[in-house]
């Protein structure tokens, strides 16, 4: 029983990080049709920037979250304005371009921050643990991360479902041409969504770093999980990213506890099964042939 509770907690908190990372990826994918493989690299950049602020400069953790997000958002702005707008509908090229950005960003991080990995850092008030079931204690930081995930999910859900710009974004995913025909500058909206996605990725990097620290291969390894989450949850919706993130988080956490030997490929198996049963993902809408 304790084991189940602990693993659920683990899974949900890991899922919360995955959600933070994927909500942006999924939105960009839904709105612009761009599969931004450099999303994981932006997460990493955010985490490094956060480290500089929170640990190196010793400033407030939340300031670090903001700074990580802003730097990643700025990179997103450069990517979108400088590159992606010239590659409409060219999926090959987009995939390759984002992959190129992984190389570039990773090497720049090596250049700026050196190869020494950074230890997990967090606000002092969230470090440590408190008692839960039995003689077991649980990590405060993980619960805070879960909380942030839930709050952000609620905020994003409200943004997407209850505001006018959210309605425009959803309208654009349904029918881009019609949205433009109603006089909406959808290019601008898409840029905004792209930057927002990158911002969330960067902020997620700082939040994720409070549990996992930062290393140079994070850009690639976290991306693989993020892609799985997007596929499982379905693109373009906050609910999808949340459901996918938490589901994958739980699968990973229970997989490690119950079948450690196959836990690594369990997620890929789940992804393949879901793609075959419902290619649009659990919460996704119908798939359009591109």
């Amino acid at each position: 029983m304790e084991l189940i509770i602990l693993n659920v907690l683990n899974g949900v908190s890991f899922g919360a990080i995955l959600f933070l990372l994927c909500s942006g990826l999924s939105l960009t994918f839904g709105v612009m049709g761009i599969l931004n493989l450099s999303h994981g690299a932006l997460y990493m950049v955010g985490a490094y920037v956060g480290w500089s602020i929170a640990v190196h400069q010793g400033l407030n953790f939340w300031l670090a979250v903001l700074a990580g997000g802003l730097v990643a958002g700025l990179l997103g702005l450069i990517m979108e304005r400088g590159f992606f707008r010239h590659l409409h509908g060219m999926i090959n090229e987009q995939v390759l371009l984002t992959f190129g950005f992984i190389y570039i960003l990773t090497n720049l991080c090596l250049w700026i921050w050196g190869g020494v990995p950074k230890a997990p850092y967090t606000a002092p008030s969230f470090s440590g643990s408190f008692d839960i079931v039995g003689d077991w204690t649980y990590s405060k930081a993980r619960l805070v991360v879960t909380g942030i995930g839930i709050v952000l999910a609620a905020v994003l859900w409200f943004f997407q479902e209850k505001t006018r710009i959210g309605a425009i974004i959803r309208a654009g995913m349904d029918n881009k041409e019609m949205t433009i025909g109603l006089g909406i500058n959808y290019g601008l909206v898409a840029t905004f969504v792209f930057i927002l996605g990158c911002f969330i990725a960067g902020a997620a990097g700082v939040i994720g770093a409070s549990l996992f620290g930062v290393t140079l291969d994070l850009g690639m390894s976290i991306l693989l999980l993020a892609l799985v989450v997007v596929v499982v949850g379905g693109k373009g919706s906050v609910q999808g990213a949340l459901v996918g993130g938490i589901l994958i988080g739980l699968i990973i956490s229970f997989g490690k506890a119950l079948f450690p030997q196959i836990s690594t490929f369990l997620v890929y198996l789940v992804m393949i099964v879901i793609l075959l049963i419902k290619p649009s993902g659990i919460m996704g809408k119908k798939v359009q042939d591109r």
């Binding site: 349904d174 006089g183 909406i184």
Partner: protein, 236 residues
């Protein structure tokens, strides 16, 4: 209000509009008639900028708009009621109406209450997803959505398509009321009788060129044209 001069449009390699010229005068309804596949919808798409013309001039409110991006064209005051209605399925009725609303500050501007007055049925469905409405309600929603952008000109692409006759009549009434309120309308139709009732001027398009234009009364008299270009529909 809007004027097309010798407009040529291509879809990739196929040559669709082969020199169209037409005009909608301010406050009037012009009808564009013709069979399927003759270029009616392409004309609408060309005006709004989805498939910009390769040659020719489109003038709206005395400005050339053929080089502008679609959203800029729409923002100049053109409302689009597209073929097949194209309601956004993920949006509620309310959101469908409000998402593109603009120019609300004008005194006589359209707003959500005015739309609900015009289409009382929509008010009762305000929280429902747009695509769950009946065909007629969807058509009303589409018109309402276009009106919320406060256009000076409405481009209506077959608003009667696939609707029961009684609903068509209602839509016809609404178009009439819109015309009275001073909006110019370019009406693309296959329903000849409705178009002739509403229109101040009629164009007939065939294979990408305007074959005939006149007042509606003159067209009714000209049975040869009606049977050649509009088929049996004109005999009803």
């Amino acid at each position: 209000m809007i004027e097309l001069r010798d407009v040529h449009t291509y879809y990739a390699d196929s040559y669709i509009l082969q020199g169209i010229s037409l005009e909608v005068k301010e406050g009037s309804v012009a009808a564009l008639l013709g069979r399927n596949g003759m270029g009616k919808t392409t004309t609408i798409r060309t005006i709004i900028g989805f498939t910009p013309p390769r040659e020719g001039i489109i003038r709206f409110k005395e400005k050339e708009i053929q080089c502008l991006k679609p959203h800029k064209i729409a923002r100049m005051g053109i409302g689009l009621v597209p073929q097949g209605r194209q309601i956004f399925p993920s949006l509620s009725v309310y959101e469908n109406l409000t998402m593109a609303a603009r120019d609300m500050e004008r005194g006589d501007a359209w707003n959500i209450n005015k739309i609900y007055n015009l289409f009382p049925i929509l008010k009762t469905r305000t929280r429902i997803k747009g695509t769950l409405l009946s065909g007629g309600e969807q058509q009303m929603l589409t018109i309402g959505r276009a009106l919320m952008t406060n256009p000076a000109l409405l481009l209506m692409d077959e608003p009667s398509e696939g609707l029961a006759p009684i609903i068509v009549e209602e839509i016809g009434h609404i178009i009439g009321r819109l015309k009275e309120s001073g909006i110019s309308i370019l009406l693309v139709e296959q329903n000849i009788s409705m178009a002739l009732d509403l229109a101040d001027y009629v164009y007939i398009i065939s294979k990408g060129v305007i074959e005939y234009e006149s007042k509606p009364d003159d067209l009714i008299k000209n049975e040869e044209i009606v049977s050649n270009y509009l088929g049996v529909a004109g005999n009803e």
